[in-house]
Subunit: 137 residues, 4 copies
């Protein structure tokens, strides 16, 4: 599984010249969707099947700033999954030096078209197994 | 009709210390929705009625930069409307000095739930008349 | 101290029709800057004085979604402060029903123009006392 | 010169399920920075040399919507350059079908550290020649 590689966009740093902290939360999302994609679990397709991911919580610890001109890699690590919840840990590194820039976590559940939380294990056992397989790696 | 008043958010300036140009496009949108709201034409309600605005084009000319700590007012002026298209002109001013910061235009049409363009005049004559009344002011 | 009132912008909800979770992190920031402002501690002025706030960590728990057409109020509560760190808790409520939508926390330090962390107590005792006064309320 | 390839991020579509129109303006910026980069004119380095690009105007015409799950390519074409101004045209295409999604234009000048507009030809003749060479292709 490859990390998500992101070249900092010009509009991402704030007036202090460092990437605004809210953007890391967006990078986490793109990184987890990219990881699902690499595992053959395309999120756009999941939505077509009426399965929607919901973000229940998110957190980020910022260690060193990131600037325009730099490239980061974001590695999402599935740390916990059961039939209803999924927790992912993220490590943001400078793509060149591999030095850590930030870490974070997010917790998710799945809902159907009606917005109600559902058991992934019951609704889509194949997807559930595929996700469980990710954690075992 | 009051202009839309916006205190610059900390995350809006870029690393040059001035509001990133893409944000003006978002201010235009909030200003036109706010103006519709003031005219009693709540956009959230229009959407519930299956009427959706689509942005066909947008432009902005940046005259003087805007910084964090400043407040702008955005005045949307309906410049043209027929049964299918609506054109709006925007003037962004410093809220204190009233000096012009930027101007812009956007062109819109309306579509139904099926995504097909519709005649506002035929679909919702009352809304069409209310919008036409705005231009006559 | 009044909460920060925010009418949801059209561009804030994602394709699921609910405000994208990254925007709450931005609301937190605007709410804490607004609170400082109400306390007479204008952040733009602090920056002119060479004092810059740095976000060390942020977290948010999402309880119920927020949609376009709704207005939220964000109440920042200073929960901890010492000469180097400041922790703020946030409560996001629906402005009409006052029902809780999300809660969160952020931790900050201050740096000077050289980017080095400094003791607020030593650098700007008046500001430090003013911030401490906020926590006692 | 390769176009800028961008996989639509989950947070880019709005509640209508199509990429919010303000994001195209950001794609234009990343595409022009990427093109300069490919030409060996790294924008981050230009900034280190005290040369800053300023956006004077921007426009976009939206032809067909773009959705999550799709990838776009953005081709920036330098259409006009003199010693003070630079105009760029953009074509946004679906990366698979190569069908046009939007087109746009932006106009820029350069300023120094003091924020004053400068003649690129006089300030950095080598850069000016390199940019002129781009237009001749």
């Amino acid at each position: 599984m490859n990390p998500y590689i992101h070249k900092v966009d010009f509009y991402e740093p704030d007036q202090m010249g460092v990437v605004h902290h809210s953007n890391y939360i967006r990078w986490f999302e793109t990184a987890r969707i990219d990881a699902l994609d690499q595992a053959g679990l395309t999120y756009a397709k999941m939505e077509e099947d009426g399965l929607f991911g919901v973000t229940l919580s998110v957190s980020c610890e910022y260690r060193r700033s990131v600037r325009f001109g730099q490239t980061v890699e974001v590695e999402p690590v599935l740390t916990d999954v059961d039939d209803r919840f999924m927790t992912i840990h993220y490590i943001v590194r400078d793509a060149d030096s591999k030095k850590e820039r930030a870490t974070g976590d997010s917790k998710h559940c799945f809902v159907g078209l009606d917005g109600k939380m559902l058991s992934l294990k019951e609704t889509d056992p194949a997807l559930y197994d595929a996700i469980c397989a990710l954690i075992e790696k």
